[in-house]
Amino acid sequence: MSHDTLVRPAAQGLPEQRGRRRPPSFRRQGRAAHVFLLPFLLGLVLITAVPLLASLYLSFTDYDLLHDPELIGLDNFRRMVEDERFWASVGVTLRYVLVSVPLQLAFALLLAVVLDRGMRGLALYRSAFYLPSLLGSSVAVAILWRQLFGHEGLVNSVLGWFGVTGESWLQNPDTALSTLVVLNVWTFGSPMIIFLAGLRQIPEELYEAARVDGAGRVRQFWSVTVPLLTPIVFFNLVLQTIGAFQAFTQAHIISSGQGGPLDSTLFYTLYLYQQGFQSFNMGYASAMAWVLLLVIAVVTAGHFLLSRYWVFYGDER
């Protein structure tokens, strides 16, 4: 598969309309854009910017939520360097991001493609696969996961048939994180639904054009489906990565807010939460949040830079 066919195939079938002139004029577009963006801009100023900037300010303070914040310069950031649990949480989070995001997306993409290829009972399968996502972050998951991975859980029962006696997977520091990866993969329904919507949106004309060019089904898949789905893959990749960096709820529920055993599921935001809401070090928590923001921003910028090489947009000129 040459790089060319993968990235630039679809425009073949459509009339080329690349004039120098941009109808309507740049200025008119600018005015229109700001009308479209009015709610967004209001939200930006009123809802988003204020807390964002407030938290930035707090990151340079000692703020225990009960007393007034007190400026302490870079102390919070210095403290991070020496904080063992901080680094433990960084390790846990990186491992989680690197493993669970690709796994979950691969699952979601594979099933979306299989389901989309004229499978009967699509709606039924789709709902079934989405069901876990509905409950993925409810308190019931704690009990559920104990039923599966606990000392007397289903997994150990099955292992028992083969004469293997297992310990609770949730209480072993070496396996606890893996159970959370499994939980994340289990809730692949959200990215899958987005993939399915993306597949739905590919205009039938493009397939027709490809057929006119004599492309078979496999060829159509690689030259139409894959490139046109790349913006959606990109979306899922970017947001699932951001989401994984911020993973909180599931670890919070399953480890009762502890991140245990022995900090093996102490996600970055879980530690941040403990610092902010349990130790009342909201200044430190805010500093941690902004460090996380910088890291995610760099990773996301990297995604965007790399996207030039593999993401194909229908509006590219």
Binding site: V45, V50, D64, D68, E70, Q258
Partner: protein, 432 residues
């Protein structure tokens, strides 16, 4: 200078608020509470929610024209919400105080003094009792109830095994005798049954251990009151049981904080708070449970007995015209038999001696066992106990990690103990 900083922060936040106020002309239905309306915040499960709602209804009936606005949530959510409310200076008028934050809230000036409210009658308490409620010499909270550390045992299991606990007297009811007994019991116990759960992080029981050893959990000046040796001794007591197969391991009990539904039919004995029997015994209706005070060292330090007070407070920033009503509501909580009748005893025994006696009339069999244990504990000499200082909010988590290190055999008892001490010390240092 604190004020300057606070003002700047509020300005920053308020700036956006003003902008929004300009664009959106909106009126809220909330706002401050007037003289005939009052906010009451508490935590618990849905059963407790129903009982307290009924009680607040009764209070409203006693006080015509009064409006009570309940703010209820489960324990963790309650803490999150009241923390956020505190930051926004929008605290409920009357609220329960979660144990880790008694001193933090006090330092933040959240409590109003309670000894100058005419509608609040404190005559049921002795002067000594009132003294023991004070924080930094000020009477600004009152106990809704008192909890003690206790040992609960499954009488049904004992009968099945034809066994008897060591006699309940100073010579026999000791840590060593209990340990030996549990090891003996576990040796012949039915499969899947052990003597005790592994509950080394239960705070009241640990505190009992410390006080018997002449130490304290916290000191008057807000420091740790115990050393690595006492902690190591505590860990070792549990490790002996675990290594002998007399305590469930962390895998069997799903974690360092064993939950009752998981271990209820796996173990003979559990350590915990005396009030837990009220909610937990009914979860295994086929079993009969007994309750005892903690075992005692043969040479236990004098005055080691103690009760933990669950406190209720009135918000410092309450409107002046609401103070009288708040006083009446607190009065209703701690002094009114009708309240007791409606809410029952799941939060523990009343600290008010007259109410404690009245409680026997509304208590069921299990709750009577709790009342008896609490009465016995309180009847004995007690040296003062101090609340967890600000900055100690996470000491339980630190303790849990220590327990995990020990019980998962990742660290020696003495190393783990030293680490717990160092970590708690660091947290306390950061807060001050």
């Amino acid at each position: 200078m604190d004020h300057l900083n606070r003002r700047r922060f509020m300005q920053l936040v308020g700036l956006g608020a003003l902008g929004a106020a300009g664009t959106t002309a909106l009126t809220a239905c909330g706002g401050g509470s007037g003289g005939n309306s009052i906010r009451y915040a508490w935590w618990g499960d849905t059963v407790r929610q129903q009982k307290y709602t009924a009680a607040l209804e009764a209070f409203a009936q006693q006080n015509p024209g009064v409006e009570v606005r309940p703010e209820f949530a489960d324990y963790d959510a309650f803490q999150e919400r009241i923390t956020v409310q505190t930051a926004g200076r929008d605290v409920p008028d009357v609220f329960w105080i979660p144990s880790p934050h008694v001193m933090s809230y006090h330092d933040a000036g959240l409590y109003r003094r309670l000894d100058d409210i005419p509608s609040l009658d404190l005559s049921a308490f002795s002067a000594a009792q009132l003294d023991s409620f004070k924080i930094d010499g000020e009477l600004n909270t009152l106990p809704r109830s008192v909890l003690t550390a206790a040992v609960r045992f499954n009488q049904t299991f004992l009968d099945e095994a034809g066994a008897q606990l060591p006699a309940d007297d100073a010579q026999n009811w000791t840590w060593d005798r209990l340990s030996e007994f549990l090891i003996d019991y576990s040796r012949d116990a039915p499969p899947g049954r052990k003597g005790i759960h592994y509950n080394a992080q239960t705070d009241l029981c640990f505190e009992a251990w410390l006080r018997q050893h002449g130490q304290d959990l916290w000191t008057a000046d807000g420091r740790m009151g115990f050393d690595a040796a006492a902690l190591a001794g505590w860990f070792e007591w549990w490790e002996v049981l675990r290594r002998a197969g007399a305590a469930t391991n962390l895998s069997e009990q799903e974690g360092a904080q064993p939950e009752w539904p998981v271990v209820g039919d796996k173990v003979l004995v559990t350590f915990g708070n005396s009030n837990h029997i009220a909610d937990e015994a009914p979860m295994f209706p086929d079993y009969e449970f007994g309750l005892r005070p903690m075992p005692v060292l043969p040479d236990a330090a004098a005055g080691h007995r103690f009760g933990y007070l669950s406190r209720i407070a009135v918000y410092q920033g309450i409107d002046d015209e609401s103070v009288d009503l708040a006083g009446r509501l607190v009065q209703f909580n701690i002094n009114d038999p009708q309240m007791l009748q409606l809410v029952g005893l799941s939060v523990g025994a009343p600290a008010n001696p007259a109410m404690l006696r009245a409680a026997y009339d509304v208590a069921n069999e299990d709750e009577k066992k709790m009342l008896a244990v609490v009465e016995r504990e309180l009847a004995e000499e007690q040296k003062p106990r101090y609340e967890a200082p600000a900055g100690s909010g996470t000491w339980r988590s630190i303790m849990t990690r220590g327990v995990e290190e020990v019980a998962l055999e990742r660290a020696s008892v003495s190393d783990a103990a030293a680490r717990v001490i160092a970590d708690i010390d660091r947290e306390l240092g950061q807060a001050s």
